[in-house]
Symmetry: C2
Subunit: 68 residues, 2 copies
Amino acid sequence: MKNKIQQLRKLRKVTQQELADALSVTRQTIISLENGRYNASLTLAHKAAQFFGTTIEELFIFEDDENL
Amino acid sequence: MKNKIQQLRKLRKVTQQELADALSVTRQTIISLENGRYNASLTLAHKAAQFFGTTIEELFIFEDDENL
DNA sequence: AATAAAAGTATAGCATACTTTACATTTAAT
DNA sequence: ATTAAATGTAAAGTATGCTATACTTTTATT
C-alpha cells in the first residue's frame, strides 16, 4: 500500500532521521516505508498520522486488491 | 490497543467465522483480535473498518502509551 | 571541486501478526 | 437433557514489520 509520508515529510522540511526519532523507529523503517518496501503496523501508522496532523485514512492509500 | 470489533460484530449479528471469511483471515485471528492478544495489521484494520462501515480511528482505540 | 548531510542499498536477526490443527467450553435450540 | 453451533484455548509454524550495522550514492553548500 502506498502512503504520503515522503510527500508530507518534505513539505515540513523534516529529515528521515528526524521523523524516525519522532516516531521512535529507525531511519531504515522510514526509508522502507517511503519506498514501499513494507507496510506500517497499525501503531506506527497512527503515530505517523498524529505527527502529520492527519488521519490514517488520509495518510495511507488503500487499494482494493490488498492482501494481508 | 483495544478495538470495537466484538461490539460491532454482535450488533450486526455476525459470527466470528462469518467475519473471518469477510476479512479473508482465520477465525483464530478474529478471536485473538477481539480478546486483545495482538494488534491488527494496517491492512486488516482497514478491511475491518470497511466491513463495519467506519474508519480505523473509530474502530480502534489508540492510547498514548502504545509501543510498536 | 571538495566536503558534509541526507538518502539509499544490503543483509542478518528479532518480534509479532497470522495460519493451521486439534481439542475444550459455552450458548442456544429442540 | 441432548445436540449442534458458537466461542475459546493451546501450540507449532510461516510471513513480515522492524532493528542493527555497514557501506554507497545523491544532494546541497561552500
